[in-house]
Amino acid sequence: MALPKFDVLCPDSLDEACDMLESHASEGIKILAGGTDLLVNIKLPVIAPRAYVLESSTSQLVSTHSEELWKDHSGPLAPPSPAYLLSLHRLRNELERIEELPDGSLLVGALTTARTLQMSELVRLKWAALAEGADALGSPLVRARGTLGGNICNARPAADLFVPSVALGAKLGVVSIHGYEVIDASEFALAPGKTRLQSGQILVEIVYPASPPGTGSAYYKLAQRKALDISVVGAGVRLTIDSLLKITSVSLALGAVGPTPIVAKTVIDVLLGKKLDDSTLKLAATAAASDATPIDDHRGSALYRKQMIEVLTRKILTTAYLRARRSL
């Protein structure tokens, strides 16, 4: 399967990258990280070859993603492939890193691959939901190339690194020629494939709040097979408990049950100040299901998804609570 014509720009620094994005904005330019979403979309008619779109509809010159899932390549209104790809591969030294900051938070560079996240003992110990998202993503080959930044910016509602990042309360550090900006992961996605990222902006780092004693997290993906499948439902949670084992903070995110990863807000009221016993678990599961707006599709019906949200919510809460107790 051949790729259409485009030019690839290879900046040696972030400043150069920002300048290039700005100066080629009008011709259509897309950032290339691992390419596991972008190159598939360009090869399939999800992002149609430029010439085709120019002929069929001259007004369709948008450089954002189509609404389609990464593999559903149906729509005739696919946006044109960009004239330029800005490859970040020379910025690996700068943007591929995992670092615990002095305040205990975790900084992950946008080019860090799912494979590297999986292999990091630090991430698995203190930000387990992120490690488990990485475990669930695609296959070993996809994890070797697919990056955290690409997973978040691609903004699929089922994205296996994005959903746990929302649960963990991540902050996204973004640069452009106009400077540095921080965006909450929970507010980043607007619709499938659409984000708050303005043209000219690059996601450079993702910062996860500290994981003090009494904190635990978990992510679980339900799919029809273990490798190479998109979730029917995904769910991630982070919670903190006090010495009496009562929950003092909690954040739960759901994937594949709405147009973007969803923060389950009613769960918070159910859980705050409580120990995690059977009746609380049950209430929390029902609350989570009521927060979601799943649809019927070939991966599962809306009803099935609602029921599975309950099952997954119980599962991840139990796991995260256990981890929180162990870390007290």
């Binding site: 399967m1 259409p4 030019d7 390419g35 591969h89 695609g138 080959l141 490798a227 190479l228």
Partner: protein, 156 residues
């Protein structure tokens, strides 16, 4: 516009001019004449195009040649030395882990990396490692046995 990149392929430094849209797979097969690496789906699903890039199993069909600049690439052609197949290749033959052979180069590269990182993998670890490499013929069992058989006897 073509770009000149330099990379190491099977131990040799090569400098080539590539079209920006050229995949690493096309570079390896068509420009460097190393046809061992196969094109299956072209979309990251099957793993028949797997090579090692800086030691990591990588689908060359979804990697631009330009993205591999400065990297160390190993293809299936690097496994045999002076006309002798590697131990792992011998095991694939001995255990019947090859039928049509189309997945074999990718399977070999993925398993080679697994064995470097984990010389004595158990069945679960082997199945997990090759879960991005599809095989339509063998049902995987023979491939698992070949990798296991190799690790029982140790590296050549």
């Amino acid at each position: 516009m073509k770009k000149i990149i330099s990379l190491t392929v099977n131990g040799k430094v090569v400098e080539v001019a590539v079209e920006p849209g050229r995949t690493l797979l096309e570079l390896i097969r068509d420009d460097l004449n190393l046809p061992g690496t196969k094109l299956g789906c072209g979309l990251g699903d099957c793993g028949s195009c797997t090579v090692l890039m800086d030691g990591i199993p990588t689908f060359s069909c979804l990697t631009l040649a330009i993205q591999a600049e400065g990297c160390r690439i190993e293809t299936v052609e690097s496994l045999s030395q002076d006309g002798h197949l590697s131990k792992l290749q011998e095991k694939f033959i001995e255990k019947g882990a090859i039928q049509c052979g189309f997945c074999t180069p990718g399977m070999l590269m993925t398993s080679t990396e697994l064995l470097r990182r984990n010389p004595g993998p158990d069945e679960h670890e082997i199945r997990e490692a090759i879960s991005g490499n599809l095989c339509r013929c063998t049902g995987y069992q023979k491939i698992v046995e070949a990798v296991q058989g190799h690790s029982e006897e140790g590296e050549k």
